[in-house]
């Protein structure tokens, strides 16, 4: 290969790698929608603002907090997570897999007499079956968490850099045509928001 061709080839490998990275980035691009958000820096006034907004008849309020806030799920009417079902189903599947696999390898595929024990020595297989249960249960729960939270995603929008530190936000999707942006902005300021941001989130 001539030097120029070699160089070109090298470049094309780099290009292909960059293309691949860009593809990954694109496939992991976050879903966004236009929102109107109010920012609070005090937990108490943030919580009372939710109550006031609910009294005024607002629905579909979403929140961003730097840490899990006690009682927020009830206030925002968030249903209990469905992830435990995933854990249960996959944990059971792991258990059944371990049971089948130890039986199939030791008693069916190539039975060997070891230590005079029966081919299917269930008590001796329990540790392996147990570990399969835990492993699949744990990994499936995390996979379900990733699915539920839509992570990993690349460069998710950040409404305010302090929302992962000490500030709280409430936001409304502007896709909902019934909401008037100006009215909502006034309302958010009236219940104590420090500032109101209109942005994609």
């Amino acid at each position: 290969m001539s030097k120029a061709a070699e160089k070109k080839n090298k470049q094309s490998i780099v290009n292909r790698f960059v293309d691949l990275l860009l593809q990954v980035k694109e496939s992991l691009a976050p879903e966004t929608e236009p929102v109107l958000a109010g920012i609070w820096s005090d937990e108490k006034s943030f919580l009372s603002a939710i109550k006031e907004l609910k009294q005024k008849g607002y629905k579909k309020i979403s929140a961003i907090t730097p840490c899990p806030v006690h009682g927020l799920e009830d206030l925002l009417e968030i249903k209990r997570s469905w992830i435990p079902w995933v854990t249960f189903v996959f944990g059971s599947a792991g258990c059944l897999f371990g049971l089948w696999f130890t039986w199939w390898t030791s008693a069916v595929d190539w039975p060997l007499i070891i230590g005079g024990k029966p081919f299917w020595s269930l008590p001796a297989f329990i540790p392996v079956i147990f570990e399969c249960t835990i492993l699949l249960g744990a990994l499936s729960s995390v996979a379900a968490l990733f699915y539920a939270c839509k992570i990993p995603s690349v460069d998710p929008p950040v409404l305010d850099k302090d929302l992962t530190s000490h500030k709280f936000a409430l936001y409304f999707s502007l896709k909902d045509k019934k909401l008037s942006t100006e009215e909502l902005e006034k309302e958010l300021l009236a219940v104590g928001a420090e500032k109101v941001i209109q942005s994609d989130f």
Binding site: L28, P68, E73, I78, I83, I114, E131, I134, A148, C149
Partner: protein, 453 residues
């Protein structure tokens, strides 16, 4: 009436978990700033020292792999040398991290919050360190994948699922995987905090590590459930791991190993040694990062010292009960093994073990001692020494004399035994030092939930 009431409520009040009246912003700043400044010369010289020790460890391992197991003290009849001893030692240390992060979480022990992250990091690093030793002990680590049941061209010949050594492969690899996942999932929201504070290349790195965490209320709801599920899965897992490690011994018919007390005895010992290591590390963290004293308070240290004393007495009970059962069994071999332990050629290792694990932690009966950093640091070092010797006693004194005269012999440590043991601390401490300055060493989000209790 009012006065006495308020006095009662005052005395019933729990000490705060985080001192110094921190706001959320203070907490973020205190914890994140550790990763944001270039460390001083003290840190780099410490890192250089432990990294050199790590390099020494790699050379020692390389020589053992290249020349063979004969470089270590293993012989007939003591075929399980320091590789197995040090493996059990490190795996045991890992257990305290899971106890703090999972079991104490399920028991709603809120004081665990500020030490959980570092304890879990310790678990991950200890399990990584431990995992190398059985591979080294196989003598041909490049064939270690034979331990896994995979379809092969030898039949396929499957692994023997009745063997405790195969159980160990499953238990330790599951434990390593789940611990790393649990640790990492706990860190994801904190990575987002670091991302939002950072600029330039660090923003990209923490951005990738945070996986695009947004922190909406719905996210947190799923996140908390998953965290609890992982804690609930880790709890039986951690108990199973050291039980299975103890089965490696207990399912053999060797006097001194063949006892039903082994699983609980090993688990108690693991928690004991692990808390010893957590106290050692936390004393150092408190010394070198003074602002963490508000998060890892003396109350935390005292609580850990109480657990050290309790589990120390549990292993003490196990030592005593082994002697009683040996006498009560009426078996000559069993009785001889235990007399030989306490008064035979390895009497010194037995008494180092008993002094370090049972006698020395008794100083924690006194509140002043429990709350004295210097004393607890020294005691925690003794606990670590004692627990290494416990495994030495179990492996060496049981193996070196059994039923047949042909199976009587002695075991001597070589340079390579010491090298691998001391070198493994180099690996563990290198990982720990890198961790403490690059990742959030205290859970930023979780501490906020207990800061104002």
């Amino acid at each position: 009436m009012d006065k006495s009431n308020s006095r009662v409520s005052e005395s019933l009040k729990r000490p705060p978990l985080v001192t110094g009246k921190k706001t959320f912003k203070n907490i973020t700043d205190d914890i994140c700033s550790l990763t944001e400044k270039l460390p001083g010369w003290g840190y780099f010289s410490a890192l250089f020292t432990v990294k050199s020790l790590f390099l020494f460890y790699i050379i020692v391992m390389g020589l053992i792999v290249a020349r063979g197991m004969g470089l270590m003290g293993v012989n007939h009849p003591v075929g399980w040398g320091t590789d197995i001893i040090t493996f059990v030692f490190w795996i045991g240390i890992g257990h305290a991290g899971t106890l703090i992060s999972a079991i104490l979480f399920l028991f709603r022990q809120k004081w665990r919050t500020s030490i959980a992250r570092t304890a879990e990091a310790m678990t991950v690093f200890a399990v990584m360190t431990a995992g190398i030793f059985p591979l080294l002990h196989t003598g041909r680590p490049w064939l270690a994948y034979w331990l896994l049941p995979y379809p092969n061209q030898r039949g396929p010949l499957w692994v023997n699922f009745r063997s405790p050594l195969v159980w160990d492969v499953f238990a330790v690899s599951t434990y390593a995987t789940v611990s790393i996942v649990f640790w990492y999932i706990g860190m994801v929201p904190d990575m987002a905090t670091l991302r939002d504070r950072a600029k330039g290349i660090r923003r990209h790195i923490y951005g990738i590590l945070s996986m695009g965490w947004r922190g909406t209320a719905r996210n947190w709801s799923h996140y908390e459930i998953t965290y609890m599920l992982l804690a609930a899965l880790s709890t039986p897992l951690v108990l199973s791991v050291h039980s299975i490690v103890s089965f490696d011994f207990a399912t053999a018919s060797l006097p001194g190993w063949h006892t039903t007390i082994f699983p609980p005895y090993f688990v108690a010992g693991a928690i004991f040694s692990g808390f010893g290591m957590v106290v050692t590390l936390m004393c150092l963290v408190r010394l070198f990062v003074p602002r963490f004293k508000d998060y890892v308070t003396l109350n935390h240290m005292e609580a850990m010292n109480k657990i050290i004393m309790l589990t120390g007495m549990m292993v003490g009970y196990a030592y005593a009960s082994e002697f009683f059962i040996a006498w009560y069994s009426g078996s000559d071999f069993e009785q001889y093994v235990f007399l030989n332990r306490a008064a035979g050629p390895y009497w010194w290792s037995y008494w180092i073990m008993v002094s370090c694990n049972v006698f020395i932690p008794q100083v924690f009966w006194f509140k002043k001692v429990r709350r004295n950093i210097i004393v607890m640091f020294i005691v925690s070092i003794f606990v670590n020494i004692g627990m290494w010797f416990e495994r030495y006693v179990i492996v060496v004194t049981s193996l070196h004399r059994d039923f047949l005269p042909a199976n009587w012999g002695m075991f001597d440590l070589t340079f390579f035994d010491f090298g691998a043991l001391i070198g493994s601390f180099g690996m563990f401490l290198t990982l720990f030092l890198l961790y403490i300055r690059t990742l959030p060493a205290i859970s930023v989000a979780e501490v906020k939930t207990v800061a104002h209790d």
